[in-house]
């Protein structure tokens, strides 16, 4: 560890973003998170998907999202049907 608390072996990681407005006593401004590479610089490329695999994965992801969305709607409607309009009338 260095005096600033950074790990020596972690040089590929960029330093945290500094909110300069706070240093000047101004209200905190929204900061943009730095882009952090998922893989350390110089590492092996790992599994690289082919264009066909990428297309298939995207299609599967969309299908899962659509299915989950429809299920959420179904459960919402089923809840209303089973509990009726009194679903919101409950003692606190």
């Amino acid at each position: 560890m260095t005096r600033r608390g950074h790990t020596k072996g972690n040089r590929a990681m960029p330093p945290p973003a500094v909110d300069r407005s706070r240093a000047r006593g101004l209200p905190a401004a929204r900061t943009v998170a730095p882009v952090v590479p998922l893989r350390p610089t110089g590492a092996e490329p790992g599994v690289v998907l082919t264009p066909e695999q990428l297309r298939s994965r995207r299609a599967r992801s969309l299908a899962i999202a659509l299915t989950l969305g429809l299920l959420a709607v179904l459960f919402y409607v089923v809840t209303l049907v089973k509990l009726g309009p009194g679903v919101l009338v409950r003692p606190l």
Partner: protein
């Protein structure tokens, strides 16, 4: 039954070990795992059971029950494809399925089937009732364990006994609507149960080579085509009056009785044709004709029951 594959080198009974999924499976492949054509028949027969049952199930809950039954049937189909991937790979009719084709890995199909099974049974139990959920769980278990894992590779009576799994959906749907079972849904189950052997054996007559290559002991492979033709005829002769019995017992109206008798007569005619024509192209054509008509026959029976249910109360006290 691991012997089915020695020459192929990539098929063993312990599990399909050929080319695994390469991450290229699309949603369409996963839908194919659900056997959508079988699922459509399941949904149709279940809809009839749902609409003919007493009780006033809310349409949303009825839709949910049908969805659970459909997904449960699809899950059973996926588990069947997982287990049967080795024999699917050597049969022309099934070689293009997602697992033998290498688009989906067996473990993916297993996880998919188990997840959908648990989900469909759980939701049906929570949303509708425990009886229907229990019957759906039994149906999935019967199809996967009793039929696929045990009977299919060990006895020529595989599709006779295993046919119970395909026959149960109207009973599950009836239980969902009425929270009980009675004679009428049992009759519907019996009709599908006794319809299954003539339907599948007529298919097996012109696909016998496929089944023999895969080592599946279908009746034409084990007992020969002539014995199969006799069994088809006997089952059909039992099926036709059974199919007419709802009208006789007062569960269905005269329209159903007329359709059951008319289509039943045509079914017997086609079964007799299969029984008489035993050689050459004419025999194959007769078997294909019976296979195709058997689907139309079951559809006509259940469509009439559905129409009568939509038209209102049909009980006539029986024709006799």
């Amino acid at each position: 039954m691991s012997d089915v594959d020695a020459s192929l080198g990539h098929v063993t009974r312990s599990g399909f070990t050929g080319e695994m999924g390469q991450g290229v499976a699309t949603p369409r492949d996963f839908i194919a795992l659900l056997k959508p054509r079988v699922m459509s028949l399941v949904v149709f027969t279940a809809l009839v059971g749902l609409l003919r049952a007493p009780g006033d199930l809310h349409p949303v809950l009825g839709f949910t029950a049908l969805l659970c039954i459909a997904v449960g049937a699809g899950a059973a189909g996926a588990l069947n494809m997982w287990w049967d991937a080795d024999i699917d790979a050597v049969m022309a009719r099934t070689a293009g399925r997602p697992i033998p084709a290498g688009r989906i890995a067996p473990r993916e199909a297993l996880a998919f089937g188990l997840t959908l099974s648990a989900f469909s049974v759980g939701v049906l139990g929570l949303v509708v009732n425990a009886l229907a959920a229990g019957l759906l769980a039994f149906t999935i278990f019967f199809y996967v364990v009793i039929y696929s894992m045990w009977l299919k590779r060990t006895t020529p009576q595989n599709i006779v006994i295993g046919g119970a799994a395909g026959a149960l959906p109207p009973l599950v749907a009836w239980a969902a609507a009425a929270d009980s079972v009675s004679l009428e849904p049992v009759l519907l189950v019996a009709i599908i149960f006794f319809w299954t052997p003539p339907h599948f054996w007529s298919l097996a007559l012109f696909r016998a080579d496929d089944y023999a290559r895969a080592g599946v002991p279908m009746l034409p492979v084990v007992a020969g085509p002539d014995q199969t033709r006799l069994q088809i005829l006997l089952y059909t002769l039992f099926l036709v009056p059974l199919a007419a019995s709802p009208a006789v017992l007062g569960f269905a109206g005269p329209l159903y009785g007329a359709v059951a008798l008319l289509c039943g007569g045509l079914m017997v005619t086609r079964a007799l044709r299969v029984f008489r024509l035993r050689e050459g192209e004419a025999a194959v054509k007769a078997a294909k004709g019976l296979f195709g008509f058997s689907i139309l026959y079951l559809f006509a029976l259940f469509a009439t029951l559905l129409a009568e249910a939509l038209m209102g109360p049909v009980s006539t006290g029986g024709l006799w």
